[in-house]
C-alpha cells in the first residue's frame, strides 16, 4: 500500500514537473523576489543594496505626486472604460441577437479589433486623429471635431477611451451573446405571451439571467483596464508631459528610465497588485450573490 502511494506521488511529480518548473522560474520566483526587493533600495545593477523596510511604500503613497496622479488618472479611466465597454458590448450583443439576418457579419466587424495587436491598431488611430479628423473638421458641420486629440490631456483622456472602446468590446460582446443564447426559449415565450414589451423583457428576463456574464465581463474589464499600457504608449506615450501617464508607465519609468530605482518600482508594482486584487475580489463577492439560476 505504502509503495503504491509513493508511486502515485512520483507519477504526479513527473507529470507536473515541466509545468511547475516553468511556473516557478517565471512567475513564482519573480513574484517573491519582487516582494522582497520592494523593501530594499536596490537599483537593479549593483551587487549590494540596503534593506529599507516599508519606506518605499510610504514614499509611493505619501510623497510621490507623479505616482498619485497616475493612479488617479488610471482610476478615472477604469471607471469610464468599465461602464462604457460593458454598456456598448451588451447593447451590441442584444441588438445582434435580436436580428435574424447579418448576425455573423456584425459579429465579425465588432470582434475584428481584438485580433489585431493593440500597438498596430492604435497607430492606425494615431493616423486618424492626427490626419483624418483634422481633414474632416475642415467641413463646416464637423467643425466641432477640431480638437487637440493627442496634445491636450483632458481631450486625450477621451481619445484613449474611444480607442480602448474600439478594441475592448469584441470579447465582451461574444460573452454576452453566448449568455443571451443560453436563456431558455420558454421563458422568453412566456414573457411575450404575457404581453412584455422589449424593455420589460430586458429588465425582467434578459438582464437577471445573464448576471453571470456581467460578473465575468466586469471582472475582465476591471482587471484589464488597471493594467492598460500598450494603448496609451502608442497613442500619447503618456504625454504631453505626464498628462496621460498610467500606473504601469510610472512603474516602468521608475525601474528603467533615468531613475533606476528597482526596489522602489517593485514596491509600486506590489501596490498595483493590491489595488487590482482588492477591487476585483470585492466585485466578485458582491456580484456572485446576485446570480440566479434559470
Amino acid at each position: 500500500m505504502r509503495s503504491r502511494r509513493a508511486r502515485t506521488s512520483l507519477s504526479l511529480i513527473l507529470f507536473v514537473l515541466p509545468a511547475f518548473a516553468l511556473y516557478l522560474a517565471f512567475l513564482a520566483i519573480p513574484m517573491i523576489q519582487g516582494s522582497y526587493f520592494s523593501f530594499t533600495d536596490w537599483n537593479g545593477l549593483n551587487k549590494t543594496y540596503g534593506f529599507v523596510g516599508i519606506s518605499n511604500f510610504i514614499e509611493a503613497i505619501r510623497d510621490d505626486t507623479h505616482f498619485r496622479t497616475s493612479i488617479l488618472f488610471t482610476a478615472k479611466y477604469v471607471v469610464v472604460a468599465v461602464v462604457l465597454q460593458n454598456a456598448v458590448a451588451l447593447l451590441l450583443a442584444l441588438l445582434i441577437e435580436s436580428r435574424t439576418r447579418a448576425k455573423g457579419f456584425f459579429r465579425t466587424i465588432f470582434f475584428m479589433p481584438n485580433m489585431l495587436s493593440v500597438i498596430i491598431s492604435t497607430f492606425m488611430w494615431v493616423f486618424v486623429f492626427s490626419k483624418v479628423i483634422p481633414a474632416l473638421s475642415s467641413y463646416g458641420a464637423l467643425k466641432f471635431l477640431n480638437l487637440s486629440w493627442l496634445g491636450d490631456p483632458t481631450v486625450s483622456f477621451w481619445t484613449i477611451v474611444i480607442v480602448s472602446l474600439w478594441g475592448g468590446v469584441g470579447t465582451l460582446m461574444l460573452i454576452y451573446m453566448a449568455a443571451i443564447q443560453g436563456i431558455p426559449q420558454h421563458l422568453k415565450e412566456a414573457a411575450i405571451i404575457d404581453g412584455a414589451q422589449p424593455f420589460h423583457m430586458l429588465r425582467y428576463i434578459t438582464l437577471p439571467l445573464i448576471v453571470h456574464a456581467l460578473t465575468i465581463c466586469i471582472f475582465l474589464t476591471l482587471n484589464g483596464s488597471f493594467k492598460i499600457y500598450d494603448l496609451v504608449y502608442a497613442l500619447t506615450g503618456g504625454g504631453p508631459g505626464r498628462g496621460t501617464q498610467v500606473i504601469t508607465m510610472n512603474i516602468l519609468e521608475e525601474a528603467y528610465q533615468g531613475n533606476l530605482r528597482f526596489g522602489y518600482a517593485s514596491a509600486k508594482a506590489i501596490i498595483l497588485f493590491l489595488i487590482i486584487f482588492v477591487i476585483t475580489m470585492i466585485q466578485i463577492s458582491v456580484m456572485k450573490n446576485r446570480e440566479v439560476e434559470a
Binding site: A19, L92, M112, L174
Partner: protein
Amino acid sequence: MSRRLYSVLAWLVLGVLAVYFLFPIYMALINSFKSQGEIYKSVLKLPSSLNFDNYTEAFTKANLLKSGLNTVIVTVTGIVLIVFCSSLAGYKLSRTRGRLSGAIFMLFVSSMLVPFQTIMVTLTKMARDLGLQGSPLGLGIVCAGLGVNMAVFLYHGFVKGIPRELDESASIDGAGEWRAYFTVIFPLLLPITFTIIVLNLLWLWNDFLLPVLLLNDYRAYTLVLSINMFFGKYSRDWTLILASLVMSSVPIIVIFAIFQRWIIQGITEGAVKG
C-alpha cells in the same frame, strides 16, 4: 414602441457602430496606397491608383520578413511548451486526489491573479540571469512560464468531464502510463487544446511589453516591435507606416478569416471558464 420602429432603430445603431469600427482600418487601407503628395492633398478620397510601392519599400525597411519569422518562433515555442506541459500537469492534477495535488493546483490558480506588471521588473532580471534575454526562442520559453497557469486551469476543468474508466481501460491494455496518456488521453483533450492555442496565439503574436523588455537587438525583434521602431523612425512618412501596419495585420486577419468559428468559440469558452 412599435416593432417596426424598434427594428429601424436597431439597424441604425448597428450601422453607426459598424462605421466606427471599420473607420480606422478603412482609412489606413486607402491611404496606404497613396503617395506622400496625395495624402497631403486629400486624406479622405480613394487613392488614384493601386500602387504597391509603399508596400515593397516598407517591407524591407521595416524588416518585416525577419521579424515575422521571429514572431513565428516566439509563438510556436510558447504554444508548444504551454500545451505540452500544461496538459500533462492539468490531467494529472485533475486525476490525483490528495493534499499535494490540491496544493499544487491552488498555486497555479492563485497565480492567475498576479498582473504581469507586478512581476515584469524581476522577471526581466530572471530572464537575463538564465540567458534567455535577447532571443525569440528565449522569449517563447519565458512566455510559456507566464501562460502555463491558465492552461493548467483549463485542462484541469476539462479532464473532469472525461470518464476515469478510459484511463483504467488503457492501463489494463498494458500500456504504460505515459503511452496511455499520449495515445488515449491527449487526443481526447483536443477541443480544449484548441481553445488554449487560440488564446495564446492572440496573446503571443500581439504581445508588446514583455518583448520590449527582453529583446534589445532589432534583429531579434518581433513584428510588433519592428513596427514600433519603424513608427518612431519614419513618423512623418505616413505612406510607409500605413503600408507596414496593413501588412503586419494581414497574417492574423487571414487566420481569423479561416478559423473564425473556432476562434470565437475558443474565446468565449476561455473567458467563461477562466
